[in-house]
Amino acid sequence: MSSELVLLVMFSGLVSLLLTGLPLAFVLGSLALFFTVVLWGPSALTVTVLNLYDTMRSESLMAIPLYVMMASVLQRSGVIESLYKAMEIWSRRLPGGLAVGTVAICTIIAAMTGIVGAAVAAMGMLALPSMLKRGYQPELAIGTICAGGTLGILIPPSVITIVYAVTAQASIGQMFIAGVVPGLLLASLYIGYIVLRSALNPSIAPRPTDGDDITWAMRIGALKSLVLPMLIIVGVLGTIYMGIATPTEAAAVGVALAFVSAVIERRFNGELLTGVALDVVKVTTMILWITIGARAFVAIFTGTGGADFLLGFIQDLDTNRWVVLVVMLAILFFLGMFLDEIGIILLCVPVFLPVIDFLGFDRLWFGILFLVSAQMAYISPPFGYTLFYMKGVLPAGIGMGTVYRAIIPFMLLQALGILICAMFPELVLWLPRSMIQ
C-alpha cells in the first residue's frame, strides 16, 4: 500500500472510530493493533506492549499523579477557593478578573510542572467550578484553562522541551531559557484578550455586584489566603530551582505541603483522603491509557512508512524557504490534531531539522516555533488531548461542543504568538544568548 493511502486510511479510521463514541485510548490502541496486523505482521504486536513497559516505568510521567494529587488536596481543602476569593477582591475592577487571575495562576503552575495533562486537569478541577459559580461564560472559562494549562510546554521545566532538545541535539538549558519570553508573551496575549473581550461584553464575565464597600483593610486581610498557596509554590519552585529536588520529587514536596495546608485549614479527614484518592486514580489512569494508545499508534505510523511520506513531501517542495517553514508548521499542527506531542517530536524532528539547517534557519528558534505549534495542537479540535483532559473534569451539562467553541479564539492567539516569534527572532534568542556565552 502506498504511503499516502496508509496515511489517509489511518486518519479516516481514527476519525470515524472516535465518532462511534469509543474512548480515545481504545480508538488509538485498537487501530494500532489492526494496522499492525494488516500492514506489518502479527509479530509486530509486541511493539505496543514494549512501549507500554516504557510508559509504566517513566520517571517523568510519574509526576502526573503527584501534580493531580497536589491540585486535588488544594481544592478539597478550600485553599484554592480562598485564593480565588482573594483574587476576586483584588482583580474585581479588572474586566474578566477571575480569568485573568487564572492565566496568572496557570503561568505559575507552568513554572512548577513539566506535564501538560496534569496542569490542565488540575486547573480544570480548581479554576473551572470557581469561575462557573461566579457566572462566567463556560466558553471563556474553559478556553482560558485549556490555553493557560498548555503554557507549561514553553515555560520551564517542560518534559516536551526536554524530549525536543534531546531529539534535536539542542541544549536543554538553552531551550528552557528560550521558552521563557515566548511563554510570557502568550500569557500576556491571553490576558489582553480576556480583558478586552470582557470590557466589550461584561455579561460573559460578570463583575460582582456587591462589594463597593470593600476597604483596603479587607484587601490586605484577603492576602492571608495567599500565604498557604504561596508557601506551596515557593516550596515546589524553590526546591526545583535551588537544586533540592527534581521536578517529580518537587511534586511530592508540593503534595506534602498541600496536606499540611489541609491540616491548617482543619479539612484533613477521611472524606478528603477518599476524594483525593479517587481524583488521582481517575485522572492519572485516563491520561496514561491514552498514552498507551498514542504510543502504539505513532509506532505503527512510523513503522509503516508514514514518516517517509512526510519527508518526501517536504523535500519535493521546491519553493521559498518561508513557504517551506509554514508548510512544516502546518504539518506539525495537522499531526498534532491527532497524535501526542512526544510521538510527533520523535516522528518529525529528525525529518525536519536537516531541512531547517538546509534553509539556513536557526535551530533554537525553530524549536520554539515547534513548541508553540505543539501548544496549538494540544488544544486543537477535534482531538487535542487537552480537550479530553478538560472533558474529564467538566461538570454535567457541558459537552464537547462547548469545549470546541471555547478554544478557537485562544488558538488564534497562539497563531499570533507564532507569527510574532517568527517575525522577531530576537524575542526567542535574546535571553538564551545573553545568559549563556
Partner: protein, 170 residues
C-alpha cells in the same frame, strides 16, 4: 450470569481501590529521597525506582474499573444525538472492540512476562530489584479489562434502549 458479572466488576473495584491507595506511598518515598540527598548528602538508590514500580501497576490495574465508571474519555457528539437503539448498538460495538483489544494485548504480553520470569529479570540499576513481576501486571490487567468489557457489553445488551437512555442522562 449476574453473579459472575458482579464478581468481575467487584474484583476490578478492589484492584481500583488498591491502585488508588498504593500511589500515596510514592509521596513519603520521594520526600525521604529529597531529605536524604539534600540534608544528609546520602541519596538512596531505591526511592525513585520504587516509585515507578508503584506507578505502572497504579494506572494499569485501575484501567478496567475505570471502564465500568465510564471514565475513559470519548467523543460523544454523535451518541448524544443518536436514537436510543443506535446508541445501544454503538455501545455494544465499542465494548466488543475493547474486548478484542484487551484479548490481543493480553495474549501478546503473556510470553514476555513468562520469559522475564524464567530469566529472573532485574532492573540492573544500582538498586537492582527484581522486575519480572511487573511484566505479569500487564497481561493480568488486560485479562481483567477483557472480562469487564464483556460484562459491560452484556449489560448494555440486557438493558432496554429506553432505560439506557434514561441512565445516560443523570
Amino acid at each position: 450470569m449476574t453473579p459472575l458479572f458482579n464478581f468481575v466488576t467487584g474484583l476490578n473495584r478492589i484492584l481500583f481501590g488498591i491502585a488508588a491507595i498504593a500511589i500515596f506511598a510514592v509521596v513519603p518515598m520521594l520526600l525521604y529521597e529529597v531529605v536524604a540527598r539534600y540534608a544528609f548528602n546520602a541519596p538512596t538508590v531505591w526511592a525513585m525506582e520504587a516509585s515507578t514500580l508503584l506507578f505502572g501497576p497504579h494506572f494499569m490495574l485501575a484501567g478496567p474499573y475505570l471502564l465500568h465508571l465510564r471514565g475513559h474519555v470519548a467523543v460523544d457528539i454523535v451518541s448524544e444525538r443518536a436514537s436510543p437503539r443506535t446508541r445501544q448498538v454503538l455501545e455494544i460495538f465499542g465494548f466488543l472492540v475493547i474486548a478484542v483489544f484487551a484479548a490481543v494485548l493480553g495474549w501478546v504480553s503473556w510470553p514476555l512476562a513468562v520469559n522475564a520470569f524464567q530469566l529472573g529479570e532485574t532492573s540492573f540499576s544500582a538498586w537492582n530489584p527484581p522486575i519480572w513481576w511487573i511484566k505479569f501486571i500487564v497481561p493480568f490487567a488486560f485479562l481483567m479489562l477483557f472480562a469487564q468489557a464483556l460484562v459491560e457489553a452484556a449489560m448494555a445488551l440486557r438493558t432496554p434502549p429506553a432505560a439506557a437512555a434514561k441512565e445516560a442522562r443523570p
